[in-house]
Symmetry: C2
DNA sequence: GTCTATATATTGATAGAC
DNA sequence: GTCTATCAATATATAGAC
């Protein structure tokens, strides 16, 4: 169906992804987005009939980017190395987390304040990480309830450390939590039943 | 010095505390605050010459409220019971956390997006909890570095679980983390040196 | 001290020329 | 499809009557 041949829509989404992270959703104007994407303000409404629709496109883009990033870990041979890679990545980008906060946390919070229309979108942004982690623990031989419980603790500690590091302006909060989570992961009780891959 | 005899200022701050939590800082207008506090909009600027100053007063109010709440735990006989009370409180108010998110997280994030003028204020909101927890662990005999490390892990898991529960709309994320943290606290290695209060 | 205007800027969104 | 001009609503903040 008649999508435009240009990359204008993609440029608008990319600009919105960045600005929603840097300034927040409410403080980012359509004019801001258009300017960052190097086009006139009125043009935005050709691609998105309302700011809400732009927000939905931004959520879609984050889900896609997160899935792409998580796929990078697929080259690791076992589930534990893949999860460890996920955990350690927080250290690699802790500077961004400290200065701007987690983009997922920001987006989820912002969208919940924009009326019921966007509340459902807010829940989607973390779902990709949740599902990937549950899938990895399951591959490691844990039952789905076990994998879910482990994932929830991991996600809480992981994103909580980012939250604290941002609020306190201190990247060592992330480094300490990463070290703690790696140790926690290594000392996790082995799954009771069959494991599709041996080794810790 | 010439403070007004009425409670209008306090009513404005209370209204702002509530609205900043429910709607976020950017989406809360001065008119909203005045209306909630039952007075005309123009009146706000007699007490706060700018919206920024209202934000500062809201941060002050949160620091005071947090200190008052933490003092409730002083009746507990030992540091471990006091920290346990702090942890368990997340369950008691998990409904509020799920529907509105943590007010501290929201305020901290919102203020960081309002230019450099309010960034410093954003760091203050968690400081009361950090310092109280470090103080409790220290009373339990831990060294200041040990107490700080324990506090940082606790704060990350605690506030991370609230963040996830809000984003996913699921209070069991908080209940599970609370159970985990209580077990973690109980199994924490005893401090090496003198302890001002015996017992786990 | 308190409240009623109102100034001024910016917002999301639309209409219509090209 | 693209862009200009502009609307209507809402925001913070001020001036000045009471």
């Amino acid at each position: 169906m008649g999508r435009p041949a240009t990359d204008k829509r993609a440029r608008l989404v990319a600009a919105a992804v960045q600005l929603f992270h840097h300034k927040g959703y409410a403080r980012t104007s359509i004019a801001d987005v258009a300017k960052t994407a190097r086009m006139p303000a009125g043009n935005v409404f050709y691609f998105f009939k309302a700011k809400e629709d732009l927000a939905r496109a931004v959520v879609d883009d984050w889900c896609r980017m997160l899935a792409d990033y998580l796929a990078v870990h697929d080259s690791q041979p076992d589930y534990e190395s893949r999860i460890e890679g996920f955990i350690e990545n927080a250290c690699a980008i802790s500077g961004m987390y400290v200065s701007l906060g987690c983009p997922l946390a920001g987006l989820a919070r912002d969208l919940r304040h924009e009326g019921n229309a966007l509340t459902a979108e807010a829940s989607r942004v973390y779902a990709v990480q949740f599902e990937w982690l549950i899938g990895q623990f399951t591959l490691g031989g844990y039952s789905v309830p076990e994998a879910t419980a482990h994932t929830r603790l991991l996600m809480a500690g992981y994103h909580g450390a980012i939250l604290m590091a941002h609020a306190q302006g201190d990247p060592t909060l992330i480094a300490d939590e990463v070290a703690h989570l790696k140790s926690w992961l290594k000392n996790l009780p082995r799954p009771a039943s069959r494991s599709t891959r041996r080794r810790a």
